[in-house]
Structures are given as structure tokens and as C-alpha cells.
């Protein structure tokens, strides 16, 4: 995965030089370890800042919404599916994009590493399958597969679904992954237990909306949380307001969420709000046989009516 960086710089440099694109969206190293930030490369000097490692979890499709210029964009499996969703929803045109596919082996969850570290981590060194975190008088090596983001460990679409260039040959997709164990464990609870479970889950929420901002699906000019006439959801930390927010946010992602994990990654208090979207993802798969963002030509199930759509819930 580390060898990707050179190849990415080469492709980005070539695309910019030939004038095929006006900018390339990728990642550069962040100011602290494990926090790569999005990078918009427009000049050869910018290109040299592009990097790729296991901390590129931000979903770059988020930066494509309503852009007018020609853009080269790096795309992991999940990014590429969100790009497909963007194309379906007319947020960007396919012709504007040069998609640089990056076969992905999963991104590392910085919290998992930070939790096992005794001090603040000041340096992180990555090898092919391991990752070493160093701090003041401290050094520890982890197997990457043990510290992956939860959604990455369940991912079955690691390779980009659409691409114009590839930085490496496709990686082997994970087989036999049980993607919905979490959903099932909640389904086994009684309504009271579920209520309690989500109350505890959402208790630390500070309503910063980082999950919404990190999400490539959330591009409404005015979000429902900011509407005040009528006000759909209060702005307080009242549990029912918090719950309404998370509930509606999840609903808006129904049939669109690729489980890229950007929301969970962005959350400053570590709430796993994927618990909501995961359920909707499973429902879409069970009820409509739908997996998000695999083909720009197919309309999503909530867009189209089919006579065989399930309707048992109606009296």
C-alpha cells in the first residue's frame, strides 16, 4: 500500500500536466500522526505532497459536490461507490472526472491505536502488514488487521467499482464476512433494551454535526437541523432531540450509504452511528436486493416503483 504514493504522484503529475484535469483530490500528511487531510493538488509542487497510507479514511466524494471543473480524484472502494451515487444524484458529471482507483486494504482506526498507547503518539511508521506507533519512551507494533476501522473489517468492496486509472492491481476481496452481526444483536433485544442501548450510545453526543459534515451524502443547501420554520428538531442536548437528529440523518442515508465510516471516524466522542445506517443498508439488501453505488446506470430502489415492492406493512 505504501508503494501507492509514488504511483499516485506520477498519475497526478501526468494528468495535471496534460491539462486533463484542473486539480487532483488526494491526501497529504496531517499535522498530527494518523490524521491525513484532504489535499487539492493544482501545481507540480502540490503533487509532491500527495501521500497514501492507512490513514486515508476520509471520503473524498464529499469534495466533489457541485464542482464545475475537471477533477482527478483518488477513490478507494467506498469512495468510488459514493462517486457513483453522486453521479446518479446529478451532483457531478462522469465526464468531469478522472477517477484514480486505489485498491484498499482497509483504513486504520486511530482510536484503537490510541487506546492501547500509554502516551500521546508522536510518530507512526507503517510497513506492509504492521503499523508501529511511537510516543515518548514508548513504541508498539500492531498488526494492521487488528486495528482496522470496524467498517473496513466488514468491507466486501475494497476495489473501486469505476475508475479510469488504477494505481495497483486489484486486491483480493474479503470473503464470508458477516456484515450484519451488529444489526442482529440489536434485533434480538426487546424494545426496552433497544431504547436503553441507543440511549447509552447517544448519551455522549454533543450535536457538533461532524458526522453530517464528513458524509458525502449530506449536501443539502439547508440541512433539516438548521431549518427553523418549522423546526423539525430542537437544538438542545435533550435526548429526544439528539435521537431525532440521528434518526433522521440515518433515514436520509437510506439506500445511499456505502458504510464508508466517515461519520464514525469524524465523531469527536466516538459514537458508532453506523449502527443506524447499517440496519437500513441491510433492509435495502433484504427487501430490494440493493447494494449502493455499484452501477451508475441503475436507479436506486427508493426512486422507482416496482409492483413487486414489499408492502406487507400496509393494512
Amino acid at each position: 500500500m505504501l508503494s501507492y504514493t509514488e504511483k499516485i504522484r506520477e498519475i497526478a503529475g501526468r494528468l495535471l500536466q496534460s491539462g486533463a484535469v484542473e486539480m487532483v483530490i488526494g491526501f497529504r500528511a496531517g499535522t498530527v500522526p494518523m490524521m491525513n487531510e484532504p489535499h487539492f493538488a493544482k501545481t507540480p509542487a502540490d503533487v509532491q505532497k500527495l501521500v497514501w497510507d492507512s490513514h486515508c479514511g476520509i471520503n473524498l466524494a464529499n469534495y466533489l459536490t457541485d464542482r464545475k471543473e475537471k477533477i482527478g480524484v483518488l477513490a478507494k472502494g467506498c469512495d468510488s461507490r459514493n462517486i457513483v451515487t453522486h453521479i446518479i444524484e446529478n451532483k457531478i458529471k462522469r465526464e468531469q472526472l478522472v477517477i484514480i482507483g486505489v485498491p484498499c486494504k482497509g483504513m486504520v482506526d486511530k482510536r484503537k491505536i490510541a487506546m492501547k498507547a500509554e502516551t500521546e503518539i508522536t510518530e507512526v511508521i507503517e510497513a506492509e502488514t504492521t503499523i508501529t506507533a511511537k510516543g515518548h519512551g514508548f513504541s508498539k507494533t500492531f498488526e494492521k488487521k487488528d486495528v482496522l476501522q470496524h467498517n473496513c473489517s466488514l468491507c466486501i468492496h475494497r476495489n473501486p467499482v469505476i475508475h479510469d486509472e488504477m494505481v495497483a492491481p486489484p486486491v483480493v476481496e474479503q470473503q464470508g464476512v458477516d456484515r450484519y452481526a451488529d444489526v442482529r444483536s440489536i434485533a434480538a433485544m426487546t424494545p426496552e433494551q433497544r431504547w436503553k442501548y441507543f440511549e447509552d450510545l447517544l448519551a455522549p453526543c454533543i450535536r457538533c454535526y461532524a458526522c453530517r459534515n464528513a458524509c458525502p451524502l449530506c449536501y443539502c443547501p439547508t440541512c433539516f437541523v438548521d431549518e427553523s420554520r418549522p423546526q423539525w428538531v430542537g437544538k438542545s442536548l435533550d435526548p429526544s432531540d439528539v435521537r431525532t437528529f440521528h434518526f433522521l440523518r440515518a433515514y436520509h442515508c437510506a439506500g445511499r450509504c456505502t458504510d464508508c465510516g466517515a461519520c464514525e471516524r469524524a465523531c469527536p466522542v466516538g459514537i458508532n452511528m453506523r449502527t443506524f445506517t447499517k440496519k437500513l443498508e441491510q433492509d435495502c439488501l433484504d427487501l430490494f436486493g440493493w447494494e449502493v453505488g455499484l452501477d451508475p446506470e441503475v436507479r436506486p430502489p427508493l426512486d422507482v416503483y416496482r409492483p413487486q415492492d414489499p408492502n406487507d406493512f400496509i393494512k
Binding site: 434485533a187 433485544m189 424494545p191 433497544r194 431504547w195 429526544s240 434518526f247 400496509i314 393494512k315
Partner: protein
């Protein structure tokens, strides 16, 4: 809804034609009975600040 712990049955759907007033009465009765059986919606309702 149910996933989040709101009781199934708090939300009901039906399909009634504008000519089916009898069905309307029937369904209203059913829905009311179902929700009555569930009891008050104490979980989701926003609690007003209690003033002494």
C-alpha cells in the same frame, strides 16, 4: 423505528379509498385499540422542564 426501540405499532400504515367510509371507521377503531394497548408514548416525547 423498531430498530431504535420505538415499539412496533406506534406507526401504522393503511390504504383506504375515498369511497370506503366503513373501512375508515374500521381502521380508526383498530389503530386506536392497538395504540391504546401500547400505552402512553413515554420514551420519545420531549420532556418539558419541570417547574417547581
Amino acid at each position: 423505528m423498531e430498530h431504535m426501540g420505538i415499539e412496533p405499532g406506534r406507526l401504522q400504515f393503511s390504504w383506504i379509498s375515498s369511497a370506503e367510509s366503513t373501512k375508515f371507521v374500521e381502521v380508526v377503531t383498530q389503530v386506536t385499540a392497538a395504540i391504546k394497548a401500547l400505552g402512553p408514548n413515554s420514551n420519545f416525547a420531549k420532556k418539558m422542564a419541570e417547574v417547581a
